[in-house]
Symmetry: C2
Subunit: 377 residues, 2 copies
């Protein structure tokens, strides 16, 4: 269980194709993981997720702690049962939401005190709290409770977060090993350090020294430039263990996905495909499109002629624009559906290219075709 | 084409099972028709509609005239092509929206002038306008342009609407026969008359004298009591031609459906299943439930143990309540899905019972089990 096997490597880049074994099935990497914050990947049904070949989805520990809460999730027998999803699930630790969503009140080495973004009630979060809740959720992959810092930040704050992330990783691991079901759940470490190379290296060394079955890179895709992100990945690729899966948190923008894979990343997650989808913004092999554009009113071609998803095989741009303009739920569905399938397919195509020994060609073809005037957005 | 064949009749009630042949397939009656106002049955995909055995859906001429408009619908080749639905479609005439939604400015025998509920722009609607637009839509069944009155209304206003509805039915028929594709589209007449028996009879006589391939009863389910509705149906059952399909407009409440079938109605439509679904209200074999109720938080049984729909076969009430409380799109989807399947299944079960000669037992069992404290709502 939780074995990571490298199937093929690109001789020209850091890209690799692998298989990670979990209690709910084997994950073929590189892989994009749709985000199912509140026990649902927004606008999608579980069987649609299977249809687009979602191999693993995310759950958010902070959100699920607030709604429906640990009591109901325990009664349900965990998140898989609750939401009717029998493939792998990864849960985050709740650490990220402390900084992005909840009202932070106090942070010490001991714990974090914040207020719920739903009803303002007080929460006390800690490594132990997170491991316990992730145990209730019963995810295949749990994440260490970490401290993420905003971008830009000072070196001092970034260094403090690295120190605390290591401290909390130790406490996460300790609690997890003695309380969680280690046969059914793996705990991944998280590397922080903002855009400071030496802090990234220090964090990677401290976290990998704790020997986790997989490692995530946190604190990227929070506002830094694409170049800064790629540079950090380059720095880390030297020190992240080759034999363990590497997970770049919060990344799902198509070009970042391709560049991340080229730098040895195996796993990605992001709300971008579904959030953009609900806003009628789609990604296709040719780039980004906002489907409210008047230019699509008389366009009876498919969204993306190269895509194999339900949306692209059945509906015209004209119809999809009409749904967007009318605020119809079916629009949010069809755009989310396409965006997820498109993003998952990038990882699938990258994997095929790595195995076939033509990954650099794949990257070149993809990036030459994909146009986006808002590439930094 | 457009042949109505009666397959079986209940010897104890007015109920009958039939088959109506259209260019897009045979409709087995009694039938419930989901409403697809803006070229989408809200929250449902076409393939989900096929899965729940929706045999025919509705489109709203007024809404589709405003969005996406006749130009785009013409380019698309009609509504079937535009929305990717290849089974039968019935379009209403736009007359009902004049009174329910648009801001009515002036009504004469010549035409109706009103303002769009979207942008306030002026529209001029008439029998000819409606026939032309329904020709663009290319529905299998078009409806005469009629005048619906609110409830309660005066006898004078109801009589005026009956007179005008007959006048407009003649003009609808005249335009339709010389401009529309009568091989591919049938025009149904509409009987008005509010709750006045003599006006209902007069309207039925005047409309049926025009010889349409099917007849609808309009102006019911607009606020009158269930008993008043049933009484009007009883009065009309004597004079509506037995050999033509009868369509009760705007009715989809489960008990009304069963009682309507017992009074010889063959076709029904209503937004109730989808509108209620988006509001987390569901109908089951036991009655009406609001899924936000705290009592469902720890209920891990299915929504309706007797239902064969995706929602009932895959998710618990606890999970569905969580989706409702969290405002998730998947909740709106799963509730709409179930409500539609439940309503369609009532018509299917009624048909089976009629054919098997046990329709009165079906009615008794259904009404005894179905409980609803808000039965008049």
């Amino acid at each position: 269980m939780f074995e990571f096997r490298i199937v093929a490597e690109c001789p020209h880049t850091g890209a690799r194709a692998g298989e990670f074994t979990t209690p709910h099935g084997v994950i073929r990497t590189p892989v994009f993981m749709p985000v199912g914050t509140l026990a649902t990947v927004k606008a999608m049904s579980p069987r649609e997720l299977e249809e687009i070949n979602a191999q693993i989805i995310l759950g958010n520990t902070y959100h699920l702690y607030l709604r429906p809460g640990p009591e109901i999730l325990t009664e349900a027998g965990g998140l898989h049962e609750f939401m009717n999803w029998d493939k792998p699930i990864l849960t985050d630790s709740g650490g990220f939401q402390v900084f992005s969503l909840a009202k932070l009140q106090k942070i010490t080495d001991e714990h974090v005190v914040c207020r719920s973004h739903i009803d303002g009630s007080q929460l006390m979060m800690s490594p132990e709290w997170s491991m316990k809740m992730q145990g209730v959720l019963g995810s295949d992959i749990a994440m260490c409770f970490d401290q993420c810092v905003e971008f830009p930040t000072t070196r001092k704050k970034a260094e403090e977060a690295v120190r605390r992330t290591t401290l909390w990783a130790k406490r996460s691991r300790e609690y997890f090993m003695s309380h969680n079901d280690t046969e059914r759940q793996a705990l991944f470490g998280i590397v922080q350090g903002s855009v400071y190379d030496d802090l990234r290296l220090r964090s990677a060394q401290e976290i990998t020294a704790l020997d986790f079955p997989g490692y995530a890179i946190g604190g990227l895709s929070v506002g830094e430039s694409h170049e800064a992100m790629y540079h950090s990945l380059d720095v880390l690729s030297e020190v992240m263990p080759r034999e363990k899966p590497r997970y770049l948190m919060g990344v799902g923008y198509p070009l970042n996905l391709v560049e991340g894979i080229a730098r040895g990343i195996d796993m990605f997650d992001c709300v971008l495909p579904t959030r953009n989808g609900r806003n009628a913004t789609v990604f296709t092999s040719e780039g980004r499109m906002n489907m409210r554009g008047a230019g699509y009113a008389h366009d009876f071609g498919p969204l993306d002629a190269e895509c194999d998803c339900y949306t692209c095989r059945n509906f015209s741009r004209s119809y999809l624009r009409h749904l967007a303009m009318s605020g119809e739920i079916l629009g949010a569905r069809l755009f989310s559906w396409h965006n997820l399938r498109f993003t998952i397919r990038i990882a699938e195509q990258a994997r095929e290219a790595i195995i076939a020994g033509r990954f650099p060609e794949f990257v070149r073809e993809f990036t030459e075709k994909f146009h986006d005037d808002n590439a930094q957005a």
